[in-house]
């Protein structure tokens, strides 16, 4: 009976001691945290993609509470969720335009000239290292799906032309494909910027058309046809600058001899999926 009492006293004493300790710590060492942070974190998608420019969703939520960012800065959350967060915090949801990843190349298997067969490890960065893959164009899409593998949102599929098709509805503009592409072909652009230059080859005239059917040959007609200042030619490629020019209209593309500059209000390419390559998931 004595042992039982001793154990109870010791355990009870320890419990009381640590309980008081915790209570004191809670009282004096408390870090005040906005109770709204947890709520906002729960509402955010939690994908930690980094598209908003913050380290993750929690960091983004903190900037929301501080009023540094607007809820619409999160490109993953649906408009309903953005509205809900804005209503909860009592702030303006903001009007960030949706941004998506755009590919500056349209030279798929049918358009770009093949000069060699690449048989090595099926990855764009690997092919880029050895002879630059099989395409005659040294700037174009290699078609080995590094961007597809890098995309955490399954927003990229390879089509039969072996070009990546970005699903503009699921793309969150996180920028993983931009880093994955060894040829820097992806750019994150507002979806309203529908005038796209789908080529990155700084070649001119015959030299450009020799490597790809849809290459930009640097003729400059688009720059002449568009609103003044909207398009300027740089290194034989048109640069579309929405901030500098007048209204963007589709007529800039009308006289393009190869179709390198296009008016793309939605997704870029035909989305017929191609069979996935085998052998790249071994080990």
């Amino acid at each position: 009976m004595q042992e039982l009492a001793t154990a109870t006293v010791i355990m009870g004493g320890l419990g009381a001691f640590f309980g008081i300790g915790l209570a004191v710590a809670h009282r004096f060492l408390r870090v005040a945290e906005d109770p709204r942070l947890e709520v906002v974190c729960d509402q955010l998608p939690g994908s930690n993609c980094g598209a908003c420019g913050q380290a993750g969703c929690r960091a983004f939520a903190e900037t929301l509470l501080q009023g540094v960012n607007k809820p619409s800065r999160c490109s993953v959350a649906s408009p309903d969720i953005v509205e809900a967060i804005a209503a909860f915090l009592g702030v303006d949801p903001g009007r960030e335009e949706r941004r998506v990843a755009r590919l500056h190349c349209a030279g798929g298997l049918g358009a770009a000239r093949q000069v060699a067969a690449y048989e090595g490890y099926a990855s764009c960065s690997a092919a880029h290292l050895v002879g630059g893959g099989g395409k005659g164009c040294a700037w174009g899409c290699l078609g080995l799906a590094d961007c597809d593998h890098a995309c955490d949102f399954d927003a990229i599929t390879m089509n039969a032309e072996r070009l990546p098709v970005v699903n503009v509805d699921t793309c969150t503009a996180c920028g993983d494909c931009v880093t994955a592409c060894p040829r820097d072909l992806f750019e994150i652009l507002p979806i309203g910027h529908a005038l796209l230059v789908q080529c990155k080859a700084p070649l001119e005239g015959e030299a450009a058309r020799a490597v790809c059917r849809v290459a930009c040959d640097g003729c400059g007609r688009c720059a002449a046809d568009a609103a003044p200042g909207l398009i300027r030619m740089d290194n034989n490629l048109p640069i579309v600058d929405y901030s500098a020019g007048g209204p963007a209209r589709a007529n800039a593309t009308h006289r393009c001899p190869t179709g390198a500059i296009r008016w793309v209000p939605g997704g870029q390419f035909e989305a017929a999926p191609a069979p996935t390559l085998t052998g790249d998931h071994l080990d």
Partner: protein, 442 residues
């Protein structure tokens, strides 16, 4: 006197030598063609800066571009002719890079203007380094690292030992072998110049024992000299790598991340030595080099002196390119790269052109790694290639760095040894490139 080391470095592989096609062929000259393409970046380091304009007339050996920094070198015209363009041209690595296009003058004699021999014996080391940079010399074994950079000794460092690499451990290639056989005096002369100016006490030439005639020729050329030793080494790949060569010759290891100079040594290729002799005695800068053209896709294999900038297509057609050729490799079969375009030029670092037919190409079917450990046995840097390959495939860059991926010199011994056909070196190279890009973007 005759010291034969049968010792070698640790690990490594024994690929079939396949040198019989060209080993008996004296070096010939490739006739001049009408067009030369010279990329401004043919060496490791900063690209050269153009000094001539489009439309200028240039003489053979004239400077086209000056060094763009200390780790950079001079580019000379390989022919007398006219500068037709300075524009993006195909580089063997598949990129389009700024390059000079020179149109050869069909009526020129292509004689190199006679220059007075340089009085090297009276030179200071700094002046010598500058002269070597002016010669446009790079490591001719394949890495194309500017030679003069090795010769600038940091404060308090001394080069005690000049090590000359005559291993030529890549299969098929025989141009270094022919050079040692046909011009041993030039090699010895180059060693004499470099070792005197660097103040080296001793020079050792390492030659693999499958070239006994080259060993004899070099020994005859340096007969009676006590400061130069010619050492025969057991045949093994990659013995031509500078750290392996030092291990094989002196049984000393260059620590990871260090240079041979940290052990008081400088390693050069035999062709580089002949290049030094040519520049200091005859005033001939690096405007041409010896290459081996071989492989089952070639009708008339040859060892050729080729002006730098000649297109690969011109060289192969001269040697009779068979229609069945399916793959052309620049360099040796172990470290060389398959070319995507035959319009790419021969560069300063090109040691050979190999053409393979369908039957000679090994189409790897990749199986899962069976953890047999062959790659560990093969790796002369004592790395764990299968681990590196696995991490590279998973994109685990930080772990790769911890596993010393940057010590890998991409010699290809692991891929050669792999029974499962895992493209180990290719995976590692890809990961290293990604690491470099990540570093650059930070």
């Amino acid at each position: 006197m005759l010291t034969v080391h049968t010792q070698s470095f640790a690990h490594g592989v024994h690929p079939e030598e396949l040198k019989e096609q060209t080993v008996g062929l004296p070096v010939a000259r490739l006739p001049f063609v009408d067009r030369y393409v010279l990329p401004l970046s043919q060496h490791a380091g900063a690209p050269s800066e153009p000094v001539v304009q489009v439309g200028d007339q240039v003489q053979r050996g004239d400077v086209l571009a000056r060094p763009g920094g200390f780790v950079s070198t001079t580019l000379h015209s390989p022919v007398t002719g006219r500068v037709r363009a300075l524009a993006p041209r195909k580089h063997p690595n598949g990129q389009m890079v700024a390059a000079f296009e020179i149109e050869a003058d069909p009526f020129a004699t292509q004689q190199l203007p006679r220059r007075e021999p340089l009085d090297w014996a009276a030179m200071e080391l700094d002046a010598f380094v500058e002269q070597v940079q002016r010669a446009g010399l790079v490591g001719l074994g394949g890495a194309a690292f500017p030679t003069h950079v090795k010769y600038r000794l940091p404060e308090g460092r001394r080069c005690e030992h000049l090590v000359i690499n005559g291993c030529e451990c890549e299969p098929y290639l025989t141009c270094d072998h022919r050079l040692m056989l046909e011009r041993p005096a030039a090699v010895i002369r180059g060693i004499e110049i470099v070792s005197r100016l660097l103040g080296a006490d001793h020079s050792t030439i390492g030659v693999e024992l499958n070239k006994p005639d080259a060993i004899d020729a070099l020994r005859a050329a340096c007969h009676g000299r006590t400061d130069i030793t010619v050492t025969g080494l057991a045949v093994k790949y990659p013995q031509g790598a500078e750290k392996m060569l030092i291990k094989a010759l002196f049984d000393r290891e260059v620590p990871a991340g260090k240079l041979p100079l940290d052990l008081g040594m400088i390693v050069n290729n035999v062709q580089t030595m002949a290049g030094i002799a040519d520049y200091f005695d005859d005033g001939k800068p690096l405007i041409e080099r010896m290459i081996t053209v071989a492989g089952p896709g070639i009708e008339r294999p040859a060892n050729l002196v080729v002006p730098i900038g000649t297109s690969v297509r011109a060289v192969l057609e001269y040697c009779g390119l068979r229609a069945e050729t399916r793959q052309v490799v620049m360099g040796g079969p172990m470290m060389g790269q398959a070319l995507a375009s035959l319009d790419a030029p021969v560069l300063k670092g090109t040691s050979g052109l190999l053409a393979f037919t369908e039957a000679a190409i090994h189409h790897d079917v990749e199986y899962a790694c069976v953890r047999c450990g062959n790659c560990l046995e093969a790796c002369s840097n004592l790395l764990n290639p299968q681990k590196l390959a696995r991490l590279a495939r998973g994109g685990r860059l930080d772990e790769l760095e911890q596993a010393c991926v940057n010590d890998c010199m991409e010699c290809g011994a692991c891929t050669y040894a792999c029974p499962s056909g895992v493209p180990i070196v290719h995976l590692i190279r890809t990961a290293k490139a990604t690491l470099r890009r990540r570093k650059g973007s930070r």
